[in-house]
Amino acid sequence: MAGAAADAVENLPVLDHVESHLHPEPSYDVAAHPVPTGLEEIWRFTPLKRLRGLLEGAPSDAHLAWEQQLPEGVTLTEISTEEAQALAVSAPLDRLGALAAANAGGAVLLDVPADLVVDEPIRLTLRGTASSDTVWGHVVIRVGLHAKATVLVDHVGSAAYDAFTQVVVSDGAQLDLVTVNDWDDDAVHAEQVNIRVGRDATVRAFEFTLGGDLVRTSTNVDYAGPGGSADLLGVYFADAGQHIEHRLFADHTAPRTRSNVLYKGALQGQDAHTVWIGNVLIRKVAEAIETFEQNDNLVLTDGARADSVPNLEIETGDIAGAGHASTTGRFDDQHLFYLQSRGVPEDEARRLVVHGFFNDIIRRIGIPDVQERLVTAVEHELADV
């Protein structure tokens, strides 16, 4: 079916190979991604044993239960693995991504046709029905030329779920992709989201991770032409024993493109562990680009650990702006003092500060009920402090 790629953005021009341990060569071939030992740069933070055998790649027919709300004109269909692979989006960058694409037995395509402007959000709920299930997923989201849409992907329930998600944002299109990882406590979730941003296209990818025993997501963005813009925004809240890992990679493959990464996390409880990796590569061709990446962590109790690693590789001298920042700390005593000096009790002052910390991102989501739900979820998490 050639149609699967008809609205897609163009394939990238042939780029110079960049030798780097930060971002391996993309490939659909599982054999091209060796089984990790745990010492590799891209695996060293992940507790491999807790992936519940996903790296072994045993076949499974189990699925997540899908519910969807599709506005008129938007379609959800199944396509073959080959059709999905033909799309102009980067191939998997690690073994988990390659395994998901290889084992899912086809992909689900969410298609927003060219020129369609959808005001109401497209809602997909993906529910894990048994924690003992191993589920391979392959999802394609395609937003056509000059189309505009908001897509909510809501992960709930439990499973050991490994997914490869391809996102095509065609030239001039605008996409808000809001992913909520609100799993039950025993879920395992690995996902690679590869986004290709078309010429003058705009994507805002929101990611909220609250639940799950282990969540490891990689979001990789590259650009099919100049003028593309990507905001990668995330909020996470790790409780005792939880491992939450978010890996971001902005690959500036075209001139005058923009990337902005902002992830904010809170941790509480013994062995709550979060990992944030922010990689940016500015290729020789990518002149006059602008990039900023930032990660802020609020450590609420003893016994929690936040790893935060920004990496910036620059191969051109002509850059409009490039920077990164990372902070990890406890409550700012000055904030608490100021609020308390106005009569606000300490516990309420803490709550206000945490809400404020996250609201910076939550308020930017264009779906009011999801905003409310996340504010409530943060409130709920804080009640456990």
């Binding site: 000096s341 009569g343 606000v344 009790p345 206000l352 404020g356 910076d360």
Partner: protein, 253 residues
């Protein structure tokens, strides 16, 4: 009628070289209806006095009492002091990202009054308080003090003073860094608050300029961690003419 009594207050801070005493026995009584100006050179301990009354954890009270209508507020937490009726307008108001002014003010008002303000009148009250200090009501939707100019932060402190209407207000160099228009706006706010008749003001300042707009009942010279002299308005005029040298030299002997 309320009274704020500061008795023999000694306060230290931790430094690399161990505890350093900043306040060395402060005695001062403020009755409601009075405006007391405390003037002193840099480093005399004026701000330490303000923050110690409010309960900032950095300052260690080693001796003395601060009594609000007989209750020793030094035994109270920071928020309990505020609910008891104390207010500190800070020299450097703190930015609290992501917390809107509207949410902050409502939360504070609810805490101080023990019940939520009536929604119907509250929004009007907030807008009016902001407008009185020439802040656009749109400030209510901004994060507390974030991106405010120095003058906007000080005017925001005065708007809070009027909305929370405490028994006693300590103003820590609220006048510093203000241009003349902002200084008038801030002074008008303090005069409205004080003009209620049953509120007390402790106005800490480095300059006499603000006393052209706010009429003090008492002026105190603060040097080397304690009061060196007390008088009326004429003392401020003398300081304007001759500076603090006389007092600093006397304290150094």
């Amino acid at each position: 009628m309320s009274t704020l009594e500061i008795k023999n207050l000694h306060v230290s801070v931790d430094t690399e070289d161990g505890a350093k005493e900043i306040l060395r026995g402060v005695d001062l009584t403020i009755n409601s209806g009075e405006i007391h100006a405390i003037m002193g050179p840099n480093g005399s301990g004026k701000s330490t006095l303000a923050y110690s009354i409010a309960g900032h954890p950095k300052y260690d009270v080693t001796d003395g009492e601060v009594l609000l209508d007989g209750q020793n507020v030094l035994e109270l937490s920071v928020d309990e002091r505020a609910r008891a009726g104390l207010f500190l307008a800070m020299q450097y108001p703190v930015e609290v990202p992501g917390v809107s002014v509207a949410n902050f003010l409502r939360t504070a008002k609810t805490a101080i009054d023990g019940e939520a303000p009536k929604l119907r009148t509250w929004v009007k009250d907030v807008n009016a308080a902001l407008e009185r200090v020439t802040l656009d009501p749109a400030f209510a939707q901004r994060s507390v003090n974030e991106g405010f100019s120095g003058g906007e932060k000080k005017r925001h402190e005065i708007a809070q003073l009027e909305l929370l209407n405490p028994k006693f207000a300590v103003l820590d160099e609220t006048d510093s860094g203000l241009d003349i228009d902002a200084l008038k706006v801030v002074s008008d706010g303090v005069n409205r608050y004080s003009g209620q008749g049953d509120r007390g003001v402790l106005l800490i300042t480095h300059y006499t300029r603000i006393l052209r707009y706010i009429e003090p009942d008492f002026v105190h010279v603060f040097v080397a961690g304690r009061l060196a002299e007390t008088g009326g308005r004429e003392l401020a005029d003398e300081l304007e003419a001759s500076g603090y040298d006389k007092y600093v030299k006397a304290a150094a002997v």
